[in-house]
Symmetry: C2
């Protein structure tokens, strides 16, 4: 925690107002925003009016809603990444080759965050897209990144080990063993642990300094692609694509 004098509370409050909007709150009145953010009505009003003036929100006089300009905020991050530009052609090629969806994600504490996605068909119940967050320990990309890094043991304690499906690894010891295995073999396969019917395989992407901040995957439906086929047929292509991206990142 930083020094109180170094902290800009108005910025924190402003971001809290922005984040109050979402799929379950597409539009809100002033009073609703104040309630959700636990601010005074006057304070909430000032933030809403400031966002509106800056173009990030629109109001019809009663309801406030976000505008597309909010994407610019997320866009600054994506455009500051080298991997986005570099990986695109390899991801397209891989996806076309295996005729399945592919993604790249990074680790943020106990979650993976989707940075890129080339979708071939709808696999999961939820709509995966840039910005989507999933619990890292039950995803192939999350496990790959965790396994290839010297993560602190405490990270394993953060997970809730929810039993998403009957396949889900739901205790720390099993997870640790699985991560050690992944570290050795250099790839991860998650078979219907987060959602029944969904299977995915992942490989690490190495940055210039040798660290693994990203992973790439192929995701598919279990009734369409066997585990064996994923490993013997798809994994070589995935490794090649991830390897090409790694090489390209080294050349920057």
């Amino acid at each position: 925690m930083i020094n109180k004098a170094d902290y800009v509370q108005s910025l924190e409050k402003g971001l809290k107002v922005l984040k109050a909007f979402g799929s379950d709150k597409k539009v809100m009145t002033l009073s609703e925003v104040a309630e959700v953010t636990k601010m005074s009505r006057a304070a909430a009003r000032r933030f809403l009016l400031t966002y509106t003036d800056l173009g990030y929100m629109h109001s019809d006089g009663k309801y406030f809603e976000l505008t597309s300009r909010v994407l610019d905020l997320g866009y600054t991050y994506l455009s500051s990444l080298d991997i986005t530009e570099i990986a695109k052609p390899y991801m397209l090629k891989l996806s076309n080759l295996v005729n399945e969806s592919s993604s790249i994600a990074t680790l943020d504490k106990n979650e993976v965050v989707y940075l890129m996605r080339q979708q071939v068909s709808r696999i999961m119940t939820i709509n995966l897209g840039i910005g989507t967050r999933l619990p890292a320990h039950v995803t192939s990309m999350g496990r790959t990144i965790m396994a290839m890094n010297d993560f602190k043991e405490e990270l394993l304690d953060v997970f809730e080990y929810e039993q998403y499906t009957i396949n889900t690894i739901s205790n720390k010891i099993e997870l640790k063993k699985e991560l050690q295995k992944i570290r050795q073999q250099g790839w991860a396969l998650v078979d219907q642990e987060l959602e029944a019917g969904v299977r995915s395989i992942s490989a690490p992407i190495f940055s210039k300094d040798g660290s693994v901040k990203y992973a790439m995957n192929i995701g598919c439906q279990a009734n369409r692609v066997s585990k064996d086929r994923l490993i013997t047929e798809f994994l070589p292509h995935l490794k090649e694509a991830a390897g090409n991206i790694s090489s390209a990142l080294k050349k920057i």
Copy 2:
């Protein structure tokens, strides 16, 4: 412009710091941020430390960079849209059917902002993705949305009418005529006006209230798909997909 007392200046400054980062400024020192944002070093420092404490930035002690958490900010907008979830299957189907890339965009003043994209192959020089902004008047989706709305004449004056290619419509009168034509025929085709070799066709998506806030397109390379083929073969599929999305939006 709102009343000065209703404006939160710290929020504006904070967002300015966030937006200072991007493709040409992947990392910055404290002094660089202060310089770019024209703030005092002390002020810039407080914003940087606040972002870092909230998880939106990371610092190695000297350089600051954005983290994936910044995507959450843009994600709030995307997840507050109905169209994102609804359009996905139709877009996938369309893209697979015509074997070309498809996108959905919205209009923000004189620019279109990409909200969704299903890419089949690399078409344009720049990497198109969610959040990308392009000048509306030289894109098929921009023209579609403008044409289907009673936009104010003043909007035509905002464009700079840059001559991107020899095909570019580069004056107001021609653009206006083209928009009138689009309004009548209900679709737009832009042939190598923003970038040589790139051609795209677009159709409107109607919201529940009958307004057109979004458009959908098919984009392809001019040497692979003729204008005639775009119109006779691809347009029917595009219109069907856009129509299905429109219908689904009406049912919410």
